[in-house]
Amino acid sequence: MPTAPYPEGNLSIWRGQDVLSFIDGLSTNHVLDLKKGEFRQTTFTTALAKVIDRVGLFHMGEFIAMLSHEPFWHDLSHHIMPRILGQDVNISLATSNNNFYTQYQAPGPEPGRFESDNGVTVARTQEGLNLLVAGKNVPVKTDATVEEFHQWRIETINPWPSFEITKENHAFACGLDADVHQSKGCYIGQELLTRMRTRGRTGKKLVVVSNDEEINGKITTKGLSKSLAIVRT
């Protein structure tokens, strides 16, 4: 079960009765029906449908825990904060209380759910990746490097923040199709994403390419013999 550190993880704790409707109104996936014990990923986008961050939501019962990418937190929080207005949404940061890990080629909870055991919370993404959040004092053995994790990502075409998931790309270009709900109501960036999907023209697409291949696009994660690239379609 290769486990690699994810030092850029960021954990925020969201409390209040308006939290799910607030997140639902600002991001691509339908999260209003998220229930205790469930995990779902959604993406915050700009009006031009460019990604601000992809986040994972853990419904902990009393609150929602949001796993996001620390280098993007500044932009994400500046996107979120002015829109809270008078709603019952309170956010605190718990990043410094936790360590974060990725685990691949490993069993885990069924996708869309998470399990907590001995201070370690494990969620399974739709792409078959386990995301681990462990309390700072909880030892988690790592037996894979970040480079090995990225090599696995290339083989399985798994996008990752700061590589494919960046503010230069829209949600479809960086392979986040599963995060874009087909029929939910309006959110920032929805008009563009819906138009791209219904016309079948996303402009760019995440693919795996050989390192010696010429591409009409940009290498986003360079591997030993293959790489991930976002190419024009």
Binding site: L11, S12, I13, S21, F22, D24, G25, L26, A47, F58, M60, F63, A65, S77, M81, P82, R83, I84, L85, G86, Q87, N90, I91, S92, L93, A94, S96, N97, N98, S116, G119, V120, T121, V133, A134, G135, K136, G185, C186, Y187, I188, Q190, E191
Partner: protein, 126 residues
């Protein structure tokens, strides 16, 4: 997961925008429609608020209420009580409440000088 309910993780400070004394107008057509809705009873109020969401990031929220637990400022125009939540007052100063008489997309409409853009349905603005 350590949820950080301990003292090490305080809530993120939300910098609340300054509360603005809202000036607003109601078009004649909208006043006629409000009179139809309220009848003779002027104890009810029109709550004009803003929620997050929509294609452009903010959505208007119009409700007829008697009271609200939100902190609001009250504007009375031609006997109609209009409540504007202080939390969104900076987004609503200078608005005109209008009524558009159309089969599609008709109804109350907000003309907002603070909006840089709005979506086609008119419910969302940025």
């Amino acid at each position: 997961m350590d949820c950080g309910t301990c003292e090490t993780a305080g809530p993120i400070q939300v910098v609340q925008p300054e509360v603005v004394d809202v000036a607003l107008t109601i078009s004649e057509k909208a006043q006629t429609m409000l009179a139809d809705a309220f009848g003779e009873d002027r104890s009810m109020a029109l709550l004009v608020g803003v929620l997050s969401g929509g294609c452009s990031g903010y959505m208007y929220d119009l409700q007829i209420v008697e009271e609200t637990d939100q902190s609001c400022q009250e504007v009375v125009i031609e006997g109609f009580r209009v409540l504007v939540p202080n939390a969104s007052s900076h987004l609503l100063d200078g608005i005109e409440i209008d009524y558009v008489d159309r089969l599609m997309g008709g109804g109350f409409k907000i003309n907002n000088p603070n909006a840089e853009s709005s979506c086609g349905c008119g419910e969302s603005f940025a």
